[in-house]
Amino acid sequence: MTPADMALVLCGTVALYAGVRVALEPDTLRKLPFLNVLSFAITGLIALLLPHPLGIVAAAAYFVGSTLESNAIASTYAGGLDRG
């Protein structure tokens, strides 16, 4: 088993665990840190499965996109922008 294989297994396991925690957490805003862990694990999986220079762009694009979504969900839930 190579280091990359072990990293793949670990990232996959953490992603599954984080997915279960997101589903079980009742408080919407407290789901988001678990969702953050899920994004980290999936970003790792993308880079490990796509060892090509564009794989870095794909991993970063996925991560920034999912972070922006969490940011938007949290800000909307908190009342959105203060447009006074």
Binding site: M6, A7, H52, A59, A60, F63, T67, N71, A74, Y77
Partner: protein
Amino acid sequence: MDTVLLTTVHILVAAAVCWLNFITIDMFFKLPEKGGVVGATAIARHIEAGGGSLEGGTMMGNIVSSPDASAGTLLAACGVFIAGIPGGLLAALLVFIGNRICHDRGYAGTTGCLTATFLIYGFTLAGFSAAEFIAGMVIAILSIQGISHVYASRLLSTIWKVRWG
């Protein structure tokens, strides 16, 4: 079997290195001080309502809301795994763009990515694989965001108070 054991030890060492890198840089850039966006502050208040600590919760909210040093460390590991130091530098540029997309004016993510790139490259010279750092960073973020928000936020607050009073 020996390679599995060696890789496991390497992943644990990598997790500790990644943890120290992102906590140090996030504390240096004062992430626990205030929420970068209203969403981060709201997450902090919910973590505090659940029994956690406000400063630690604010840092966790900031980590969720914009790519910080932890995201920088992960993407640096991905970059170094795929293309060595140039890959890590490309990742730093992408984190910088990601910060701007997420309305974050700070430099914690970019700085964390640059320090992690050279740190991880140094470890690859000592027999580590960058893939072990990807797994290590996933474990490091799991320890903060994915196990207990109450205890993680209290731990972060303690570190913050020791560092900045």
